[in-house]
Symmetry: none
DNA sequence: TATGAATGAGTTTTCATTCAT
DNA sequence: CATGAATGAAAACTCATTCAT
């Protein structure tokens, strides 16, 4: 056992389906969520994916790139979904409600990605961090525009800046991962319902 | 090579007042917030505090301990403040409002600690993580009890579990650090005011 | 400070042939015997082998592993030799004499290993120490069985437990390293001859 | 708990009797035997003795000195006992037997010291190591002189150099610590008896 | 495309010892 | 006599990345 290289990939027991880049992202997401980005070695990732380091570096220039790609894909997906809901039919309130419900429910399906996102953004190198932030800001703006539309239409209170409303809402959505566990008493849909209720009722009411 | 000290602290540029443990915690908090726990080396901490590594390990058994102590002190302070507000005079709504305002305003004074908290909790070893979680849970329960009191008194809507309400509120408070920057257009008090408004109006309203 | 390699191997002066794991074991054995396990740094080992630390840790999970492997290889060799001699032809006395001679002469060829063995066994982590002890116990038992055979055949005195006889003999063999130096007046073969004489004559005689 | 110095001595639970230097040597011997010299920190020693580092450094200039003093005291005691037995009445055989019995039985009373001796001698600095070796050599010579006396008197075989005989015997005595455990089936006296028997019968007999 | 041996720069931690009080 | 805060030097180990094959 000693004197034998220690980082051969275990041949069986791995996720062996699908194209390699996706497989690597999938296992990396899980591992980063479990043990943190810095707590997960490249060796562990490639072992879990059933390949060797060389293979990974063939597709990703650096470990950072895995992180960036996880963020990028998550944001792409959320952006496209938001566009669909925000640009749909109905009142600003209807559309905001639908979009908000969707964000939360989608978040429940991607808790690992969210966990990694808010824990490890600061570990990206400057240029990639800037790129991610730009994507996120665009997402935020799109959401805000619906809130503003509702305010102009007199549906929502106008005494709180739309910017604050969006931060208020996404803030709590992004913290879901710190308390929600899938084994608990409340299902994703229930939580989404409550959260959207608290948001929209807070929005609709005009304070004394 | 020999005889050349490798971790001498630079003589200027450091916080050189007060007892060493506090000094170390102060600089560690700032550095962890800036560059992350994993991105900050012990060497950088002790250099910023103007001492050597040995001095730090004289007081803290591990780098982890700095992290734990930051959390612990923050939670102690928040708990004692919450007790004061929640146990005060007035209706449940008055007390909730006062406590909520205080939490947010206090958070603005400790943004660095909050940043570190939610980014790096997972880096604590199990036993310390458990201890922190227990403290945080107690805090959560105390807050929840005020919400429940208000629900029983008919002041707050009762169709949303108090637990959810607390998660909803603290979630967004804890995310403050991801968007708020002290140079921005809105002051801490203003943001607190908006946030508490959104929360309490969402709570007071009874949906159709 | 940055950019200055800290553990580059000196290009000359090293054992540069053969597969790396063996090379590392060879130099480690010599260094451990010279300066002790704790007194030898990993840095010194890899420098003597002409590689960097990373290379060593590619093959050995820990410094301990070098130690374990040294023991393991020594015991494997001794066990296989003992099997050959103990299981050979001739009376129990003939076989014991042959085996004993061989043990001592072989020990002279591996004084460094023996030195390290008895000085540093206690530095192994529990699990590895257990493994070594098990191997050594098997070796002891094999030797003892020949002594017992001789006792049953009436060739050896039976008033001393075979276990004690084996401890008595191996004890002194294992201490060879504390006094024997290859430059001295007595050659390995001479010493072996004397030792085996003292043992077998002590065994054969029945005290009054 | 954090931010508090980590090496205060535990106030109770320690050996608190007798003069400090002796107390320190006693606990050091036990700890060195248990965990090795390098595996035992000065902090552990002083904590076990119920004092602080300063106190220890008041009596011993260095950690090495504890080791040296352990050796020195053991050798002083053994030398004085050997002088008594070797210089006593009776034939060379009688005196050798008595001295040998005494060495072994005394060794059983000082197993910890012996363990430390043979494991850690190499950790002493050169000058102290030389001093110990000189003391040990004198002891060896004294013992050898009795063997030679017996050889000249025709009591012992003369075909084995007395030097070898002494190494043979002390070798196995010094290895006692590697296999003897006080809980085992054989008491110290029994083992001493067997060992001395094997030695003297090996000595007395003249090989064919 | 893919391998895996080897690198090099860095990390946390340990600890004997000193010295002002 | 004794304290204990602080030092300074080194140690074991990690790991993202490269490169000859």
């Amino acid at each position: 056992m000693a004197g034998v290289p220690r980082d051969k990939a275990p041949s069986g027991s791995a996720v062996l389906a699908g194209p390699l880049p996706e497989r690597l992202l999938t296992v990396a997401t899980r591992l980063f969520a479990e043990k943190g980005f810095e707590g997960t070695s490249v060796q562990e990732i490639v072992a879990a994916a059933g390949v060797t380091k060389g293979a990974m570096y063939h597709y990703f220039a650096a470990k950072d790139d895995l992180l960036y790609e996880i963020y990028h894909r998550l944001l792409m997906m959320q952006t496209s979904r938001l566009d669909r809901f925000a640009g749909g039919e109905g009142s600003a309130e209807d559309r905001l409600r639908a979009a908000a419900m969707d964000v939360i429910e989608t978040s429940f399906l991607h808790l690992d990605e969210l966990t990694v996102f808010f824990r490890s953004m600061h570990l990206l190198p400057q240029n990639k961090r800037k790129a991610v932030r730009a994507e996120r800001r665009a997402y935020h703006e799109r959401f805000r525009s619906v809130v503003e539309e509702g305010q102009r239409a007199g549906l929502f209170r106008a005494d709180v800046p739309a910017d604050i409303v969006v931060h208020f809402f996404f803030g709590t959505v992004h913290q879901l991962t710190t308390w929600y566990h899938s084994g608990g008493p409340l299902g994703p849909h229930t939580v989404s319902h409550y959260y959207v209720g608290l948001l929209l009722d807070g929005l609709r009411h005009t304070p004394a």
